[in-house]
Structures are given as C-alpha cells and as structure tokens.
Amino acid sequence: MQPAYGPLTCKVCGLTKANTAAMRKHTLAAHRELGRNANRRLPPRQREPNPALATAAAAGAAPSHSGGSPCGATSATLHGQSTALRERCSSAGSSSSTPVSGDALPLVELGGHVLPVTAALMTDTAVAYHGTSDGVSGLPEECDEDDATLLLQLSRAAEGHASQEETIHPGLGRKPPLGGQQTVTSGHAHHFSSVATEAQAEYERIGDSKRCEHAIDARPNCKPGQFNTPALKMLQTFVNECNGSGLSTASQTRLYELLARWDGSDGRGDKDAGGRARIADVFSSPTAFRNAVRDDLDDAILSAGWKKCTLVQGGVSYVTYFRSVLKTAIDALRNAKEVQLRRDDGDVGDRREAPMDGEAFRAHQEAVDSTTSEKAFVLGIYVYSDASLLSWSGGTFPLQFVDPWIRSVFQFLHRARLLASLYVSPLPHN
C-alpha cells in the first residue's frame, strides 16, 4: 500500500506537488479533461472484474477442480512477484505455475510496488470465494479441501507480506504526523498497551517533567570548595548543623565577627594574636564568609541532582523538591561496602531473615529473569514517607518514655501477642 501522504507526481505533465490537495487543484486546473479522479493516490473503483484476470484465474484454478494443486491459481495471479507463496508452490512441484502475460497485471495504477500484490491477493480471494470459471460459487465454509488450502496459503502470504512491509516502511499508510515531522518511536515498550504504560502516559500528559528546573539558582561566579582545610571544614560543619538547622545568615555574620576579633584579623587588635591561620586571610569579609557557605551548599544540592517543580493542582500552586530515585539508588549501591545482587533459592531455603530472603524479592527476580536473557539483577528499594500525620520520633523512640496511658495500650497489644517487642524498629526521621 502506497503512503497516504507525501509528494505526488502528475501522470500527464510530470509536475510534482507536495500533497494531495495541491495535486487535486493542479489536476482540475490544468487537466480538466481527465476528470476529478485523475492523479489520485488510491486507484479508481473497479466496477467489474477484469476479463483478463478472470481468464487467468480460471485457467489457474482449473487444475484444482480436477484434483491438481491449487497453487496454480495463486502463482498465475502473483505474476512475477517473488513471494513466499510462489516459492512454496514451486517447491511443492506444481506443474501449473504458468506465468501470465503482462496484461494480467492489476488494472490499478502502478503508483507503488505494493498494489500489484494487493490486487492479486484480492483477486485470488475473489476466486476462492466466488468460485472459478464454471460459475460455481460458495462461502468459505463450503470450500473443499483444496480451496481451504488455497485460503490458508493466501492468508500466509498476506501475513508475510504485511510483516515485510511493516519492516521496510514502518510509517506506511498511517496518518501523517503533525507539523510535517516524522514520528519517532522510542523503544518497543510503547508498542504494547498495558495499564502500566497507560498510567505512565497519564502523567506524561500532565507534563510536569518539562517544567522542572534546578532546585536552586547558583550564585553568579560562585566559588565552592573554599573550606578546604580541616579547621575550616569543622567550621563549615558547625555552621551547617548548629542548632539542628544551621546558623542563620545573621548568626553567620556574628560568628565571623567573633572569629575575626578572636584571631585579631579584624584590624582592631594584635595582628599576630591568632597565629598564621586567621579567618580574614581566607574570607576577607562577612559577606565573603556567607557566600562561601552558600556556594558549598548550592554545589552540594546541585551535584545531588535536586530539582524543583511548580505543580498547579486545583488552581493552587505548590512547589515540590525531588531527585531521581534511580540515580540515588544506584549511587547508594555503588557506595555500599557489601552488596548482594541475586537471591539464590538454594542458599535461602526457609530462612527469612533479610530483605533479600523474602518472597517478594524472589517474585520480582523471577519476573525479571523471564524478561531478559542478560545478566540482570533486581535493585530493590524500600520507600518510607510520612505525609498525612507525623511520627514525631521517627520510629526510634523507646516506648518506656511514652506517656503511661499510651504505654498501657501498647502493652495490651503486646499481651495479645501482636507486638513482639516494646521497642519499635528504627525508621528514618529528620
């Protein structure tokens, strides 16, 4: 089947037009005598069977009624097309594979290399469905064994031809892409529809990923890495972790002034009071000190891959911060001292002590092994989040410190053999 879009060439004057509409306009303006069906992509409607084809089909189909091979009809109508069907018939030793003349070619325009085969197959199908020259017609279920074999071979030929066309021209016969650009399919996964891919498409349609940007904007001409000595690194750690959330910018200024006064680098005291390592020798001013702290933090955030995105949900804008789970997990795996990538059923047995021993990991591993033949492993992760309510202890608070009333409730559950320990296993927290 020829493409439904693309340039067209006029059969009369050879003029090339970019699309169907332009060709139609040219035909009606320059070749009025041809009528409106000239230079169309699709062939004009066949109003009656071509007598040449009918004769050829009857000649080829005759042996089938006399007990011969049905391949003759197929070979005759395919006329020179080196298809698998002809090869099959030739290998079967058919004696009726007489090619017909060129007049037996389809009456359609030869605009593409697909049309002869299509027309031939249609003719074959018509022969198979409506009988042969003797005028005997019947439905497919009324066919005899030879006719059924013919139908089967025709369907196989069509199947092979279709797959070949799909390989050669993947975009053939489809709707033209918007903007005149060729459609690029990425990966085979998009060729299959499933709830997972549809769910993914649901979020891709929203398009949040296109609006992402870096979590912060680094300062122009920033200079990270100025805290490059052990003493300065200790100072940086103190600034970032003091009081839990670190020092404010005002406190950083006061700290700098304190250090400058202490080592005498503020110019008001003894210049040699602090020895060689003085704060003003590294950071000339409180602003430089604050900028150095900020540059290091910005660099750490950007290098970790943090991004932000503004989500408009229900008419209200929210800013969310995130980074890639995949990259984080792989980095964590690379930095791990000891890793286990595969679960061996023989080693695990009935043991259920580690996360890798679980049935869930085994199920995922079996699913992955059935997906690929390469050496692959399951990168299993646990996810933890607190959103609706808050675990103030992060799951690390021993229950004996809890209010006695609460503790009594937990102890009740413990007596009911639902709680093995009064201590709740540790979970992360800020």
């Binding site: 709830v195 997972a196 549809e198 769910a199 993914q200 979020y203 959330s245 933090l297 991004k307 949900q313 209200v316 929210y318 969310t320 911060y321 980074r323 890639s324 789970v325 995949l326 984080t328 997990a329 964590a332 795996l333 791990a336 000891e338 890793v339 286990q340 990538l341 580690a354 890798m356 869930a360 995922h364 079996e366 699913a367 997906t371 690929t372 390469e374 050496k375 692959a376 492993f377 990168l379 992760i381 646990y382 996810v383 933890y384 989040s385 607190d386 959103a387 609706s388 309510l389 808050l390 675990s391 209010d403 609460i406 639902l418 093995a420 320990s421 296993s425 540790p426 979970l427 800020n430």
Partner: protein, 268 residues
Amino acid sequence: MLTAALPLRFACVQPTSLFSLVAHYLYPIRIRVVNDVSGEVRWFTVAYVPIVRTLKEPGGKMKATGRRWGVLQRTLYLAFREAIASSHSGHSLPVSIGGYTLAFLRVLLYACDRPKERAVLCMKAGNFGKCCSTCEVQAKDACSEEGVTAAPRDVVETLTRHLEAAKLRRTTKARKRRVLLETESSINAFVPALASLGGLGTVPHHLYKMIAIDPLHVSLAHFLRGDMCVILHFERCVSAANTTFRQPFSDLSFSHVSFCLFSSLFEA
C-alpha cells in the same frame, strides 16, 4: 538547607493532642536500597512533598483532599520517572556492579501511615465500601465469613477502573459512570503513579502487597475509634500475609509489620 526548612516542634502533652502541635512544611520521602547488605541501614531522601492546607472556600475540605492526592502522586511520579522508564526493560549501568550491567528497580516495601496508604493507592479513605486495599471485602462483611474468603484485589482490573475514572474526570463527561466506578471499588479518580513502575503494575503485580504501615504514624485520637470488625479483618490479612507473602524486613521485623497492619485499622 532543605532539611533546615523542616522545623519540628514537639511537646509531650496529653495523648489526644500529641500530634496536633507538630508543624511540618514539607513531607520527606525516603528510600533504602535492600541490596546493600553491609549492615548499616541508610535512608536517602528523594523528595519533599509540599503540604496542602485547607483553604476557606466552598467545599474547601473536599477540594483540599483532591489537591493532596494530586500533589502527592505528581511528586511521586517526578521522583520515580527515570526509574519507571527503565523498570520494564532495565537500566544499563555504564560501569558494572558485581559483574552485572543491567538493573531493574523494584519497590519491595512502602512504609507509611494509614491515610497515606489510601493516598498512595488513590483509594477512598474511611471505613466504608471496600475498605481493604488488599482484598475486595466490603466493610460490613469485614467481620463475617465473607471477610475471610474475600477475593484479593485484582491489580489490572482496579487500575483499569482508575484510568477510566481519571479520563472521565478530565473530560467532565459521564459523571454517573465515574461515581459508579469510584463507589464500586472505593477508588479515587486519580491514577496511582507507582502503578506504572515495573513489578507493581506489571508481573508480579505487587502494587497492593507492598504497603506496610508505620504504627507511630497512627494518631491516638483515631486509636480510640477502633472498629472491631475491621480489627478482625486485618488480623486475617496479617495471618494471610504471614503464610503466603512472607515479606521479611531486617529493620522492620514481621511482628512489627503485623502490628503496623493491626494498629492501622484503628484509624479507619
């Protein structure tokens, strides 16, 4: 710096108001890699979900609930986007790890509280309809024989309903059909973002088996409103999980998980 934006205030007062004095402005989502068997449990923050407050507007509470679903799911999708894209055909590692160059990321466990569980799975909160995320039991049958023999939730079927309901919500057509879909399966007209991850929305379909509930997330105010029927149903779920699923946790012992599931029902 981001951590500094999360002030935490706590005051040990009466149990009913224990959690009411806590202020969070961003909610973190953390992950842990189970392939790391070095013995040190390390959690990595991958996202901060913004808090959604209820605005003073007509139907503000319901609208805020809808916004929370959307913000949570969209943040989850952004964080898991690369993992989702490579979870079906694998992520090729430029440098091999232990001789392997192809990794398939899978979520084995999602630890959260009971409301978060409903939000992650895009299900309706409350003790009505199909209140259990793992099976098809009705809330009124949770304590009866039907609660024991209820069929497990079909991931593909439920997600298909999610997709249809989400499409209807987007097109604002066939509202009755959307309400019917939401009511029948106790779902919201939003698609779970994690459903597109390999292994959850695809074989072995562990979308509803990955949830484990953190007991300290459960508000004690809700703790007092326990429904005995739901208690017994969750006990059955726990025993079923103990015999069939058997998901072991190194830092979350199974008794702890049982307790998580058991305590979560008090919030329903």
